[in-house]
């Protein structure tokens, strides 16, 4: 008995290719929409409260676990709150890189190309200021160059290129070219984009004051001469709304509402100087014994009522300190007011007139620029920040009479310039964790006492010192280990205590 059947094999792939064409989703998009997404996702992630805001002693929590970080001088690579790394590479650099590659060879979109370059360099600057060596030249090149495990570049080689990018891309913006009216940031306004780009050039230049004063000087002068943001009307900020929430405001109005408190160093600085900003920023739920007990009727925004939480306590050790401070519980310390300044739709400021005026005050004091006076820039910086608070709503706005009173009482004093200017920068950059952290490391001001938590034996942060950088995410150590190890070999250990290149 025999049965045999064989079919001949013929090509049979007809129609399959057409079947694999997606008729629903587009395979390309106007790159300005990608830049918009990058801008939205640049709003500082909640991890910048866990670390940066704690290190500069503006906000702190006595609770650990996912919130353990700057409060405990502790290395925390938990990913519940995504680190800046993940947020920026996945949701900012990815889109700027794509927008750049889609516009690079299209002269009709030259303005968009340069806008995306500026924004990308801004995001990279925050990343290198946070971590040190990062994938820069090959970062974000997954789609364009199929680089899946990018090499790292040292900060020393990144900064010159950032300066070049800010300089070149800003100069290349052309009011005669196509105006990108769908731009989320400035509706394509070239004059404002130019001021923004040169403001970043100013910021990058000042960042080098410790490591390379000569380059810092020429860069600062170039930026200043070209024109930076000097008025609040030109401020760079993310206009959050009910759909696109402010990440920090969202955190402070949901899961961690009762966990974050203003630090006494910050509250006392404002209080002791009768700073009208304390009333704008702070609230204390007097007598609150729990999170739910932080009710509106218990809330006081009166400056004299404000008491900041001290650094160095956890939820066990804080109990004795609460008693010593005469409070009902740690829920009774002052907070940034989540119903006013830290709302879910509050704006997130990236670059402001106040910051620039204060940087220029220092630059003028150093003699790096020659017009204006350091005292005037100082005064204008304070005034700009106090006026800027109106953007958070009328309940946060400060009356002009109060501004004048404060400024008259706090002129720039000879011999205290660096301290005064950079202490004001610290206040003016509140809620901008990366920038306060960077400027604190650069300038050494305000003069804070190191966080005593876990001392004298804290293995992550030597006794008497501050956190100087954030550790790489575990995903990089696991997946991109060869490249990250090569970077660490040059930069120094992947520890919180390692000083970055410009912070030597």
């Amino acid at each position: 008995m025999l049965a045999l059947a064989m079919a001949s094999v013929v090509s049979c792939d007809k129609g399959l290719e057409e079947l694999n064409v997606n008729r629903v989703n587009p395979t390309t998009l106007d790159p300005v929409l990608l830049l918009n997404n990058a801008i939205i996702n640049t709003s500082f992630p909640t991890k910048t409260v866990i670390y940066e805001a704690c290190v500069v002693q503006q906000m702190v929590t006595p609770n650990g676990g996912v919130l353990g970080g700057g409060n405990f001088n502790q290395d925390n690579r938990d990913v519940t709150n995504a680190p800046t790394w993940a947020g920026y590479y996945q949701n900012v650099i990815k889109y700027t890189h794509d927008a750049i590659s889609k516009t690079k060879d299209d002269p009709t979109r030259a303005n968009l190309y340069n806008m995306a370059r500026i924004w990308q360099a801004y995001a990279f600057m925050i990343l290198t200021d946070t971590y040190g060596a990062i994938p820069y030249f090959n970062g974000g090149a997954g789609l364009t160059d199929l680089i899946l495990l990018p090499q790292y570049d040292q900060q020393e080689t990144i900064y010159p290129d950032l300066i070049k990018e800010f300089d070149e891309a800003t100069a290349a913006l052309d009011a005669g070219g196509k105006i990108e009216t769908s731009d989320l940031l400035y509706a394509g306004n070239i004059a404002q984009w130019k001021k923004f780009g040169y403001s970043l050039l100013l910021r990058a230049g000042m960042r080098l004051s410790k490591v390379d004063a000569a380059t810092a000087q020429t860069t600062v002068k170039k930026a200043f001469d070209a024109g930076v943001i000097m008025l609040n009307a030109d401020n760079t900020y993310m206009r959050h709304d009910a759909n696109y929430l402010n990440p920090i405001g969202n955190m402070l109005n949901s899961t961690e509402a009762a966990n974050w408190y203003l630090v006494n160093s910050f509250v006392d600085t404002l209080k002791n100087n009768s700073d009208p900003r304390l009333q704008a920023i702070a609230i204390r739920y007097k007598g609150a014994t729990s999170g739910p007990d932080q009710t509106v009727d218990k809330g006081s925004t009166v400056p004299a009522d404000q008491i900041g939480m001290p650094m160095g306590y956890d939820n066990g050790t804080i109990v004795a300190r609460v008693a010593a401070d005469g409070l009902a519980s740690f829920y009774d310390y002052s907070q940034v007011d989540r119903r006013r300044m830290a709302g879910t739709a509050s704006p997130m400021f990236f670059v402001t007139a106040a910051q620039n005026q204060l940087l220029l005050s220092e630059a003028r004091f150093r003699g790096w620029i020659t017009t204006g006076s350091a005292a005037q820039y100082f005064e204008d910086g304070i005034r700009a920040h106090m006026n800027q608070l109106a953007a958070y709503g009328s309940s946060v706005a400060i009356a002009s009479g109060d501004i004048d009173t404060y400024i008259t009482a706090h002129p720039l004093v000879t011999g205290r310039e660096y301290e005064q200017i950079n202490t004001q920068y610290w206040i003016a950059s509140f809620l901008n964790g990366p920038e306060t952290f960077a400027n604190f490391r650069r300038s050494g001001y305000p003069a804070l006492a190191p966080n005593p938590y876990g001392q004298p034996n804290n293995p992550d942060v030597p006794n008497g010192t501050f956190i100087r950088r954030i550790g790489y995410p575990t995903s990089e150590l696991s997946i991109n280990s060869e490249n990250v190890e090569a970077a660490i070999a040059v930069m120094g250990p992947d520890k919180l205590s390692t000083h970055l290149w410009w912070d030597k």
């Binding site: 049979c12 996945q90 997954g142 989320l184 956890d314 034996n457 997946i479």
Partner: protein, 478 residues
Amino acid sequence: MQVTDFVVRDLYTVQNGRAKNPVYTLSEFGINSVYGSGEVNWKKTLYLNGTLRKDWFSTLSEENMGITYPSVSGSYVFSESIGDALPWISFGKIRLGYAEVGSDGDVGPYADQLFYAINANTIVNPAGTPVTVGTSGTTLPNPNLRPMRVKELEAGLELRLFNNRVGLDVAVYQKTTIDQIFSVQISDASGFLNTRINSGESYNKGLEGLITLTPIQTKNFRWDFSANTSYNVTKVEKIATTTPGERATIGTHPFNGEVRIVVGEEMGQIAGYGYATDDQGRRIFQSNGLPLRTTDFVLFGSGLPKWMGGFFNSFNYRGINLSILIDYKLGNKMLSGTNFNATRHGLHQNTLEGREEGFVIGDGVNQAGEKNTAQAAVQTYWEHLRSQQIIESVIYNAGFWKIRQVSLGYDFTKHLSANCPIKGIKLDFVASNVLVLKKWVDNIDPETVGYGVDNMIGLESPGVPTTRSMGLNLNIKF
């Protein structure tokens, strides 16, 4: 279907619209195949089968979409030849087969391209214009994927003895999987989280056995017994190269730990940070009394079980039926997220250490190699495992022995009169997931699934506990 606000000019596709009502998706794929088979047999004793097949997968690129694969198998029913010489052999067969199988490994449609989408909500820019926001996928497309191919050689023996009262079915096999398609993690500094790759080669060997017995069979009583077991180990031979230790991450636990494929190791390695130890195996503690973690991820073993099987007993006495199934899985590891959370929140029994005193002095040495004497606050000590992602204490042997099912029933059919419209009635009490006889993981059922996907095998996360079910089955036949 209504779509408004098309974003890319002249592109009239659904997702190119900002507002869609209702939500619309379309996903199509196809496989074209030609298949031929032939069979030869000689006197119902020797059989030879052959097949040849070619598939084309729409999900792969045109150059790579086709794959041809053959199979051939032969068997010899030796009981036919033996004839009446050994009458207690009811049936006996040996078989030997070689087969190849091609597959696109469940690559989704359109996976070779990056797609964009437009957020449903606009946002107002400073000019007062509502502007749109675009996004794109997190998987970097790999247009060069090839179909995967499995080559398998299997030998088997099938025996039925003593008038079918004893049955035996044994098979041994070895399998080589080439170009298996994995979704692997890449550095997110590339802008993307993962991509799909053809991973070189893995080698798989094992055996399967089934024995069936009817030890007692009388007019009123019958006892049936069966046992099956299988042993399977898969080893990764090659990813891009055959260098031992070369690896790729295929799944990540949301808190800590991941699943890797590693050249030279069993498939599905659970990896994460452990406790750093000195050369004598003593744990190292930092100056603040908190444990130091290992410098690099440690491989804790495979999440895939090596042994699986069960024992089934069925007793029938005058229409009363009792059956019990005991089963087991052995030889795999798991990372328990439930126990991790319990540990870091101080709810795990382990965390009683130091509870009275308020501090822990970990058993081990300090970084200078002397006995550790540093006290760590008890809460800090356990929370430290989370912030440092030290998972060693929640890696468990995931094996178990279980009474899977018990059923007790009675068949009422014989009490029905012949002219009754109901032809049969049977009532059974059935209990499933009855009892865990043996397990090694704390607090949870080792079968608590964290993620029902292969690339997360062995990762457990707090989820719904497994349940025991009990019920009555009433079967009526008309």
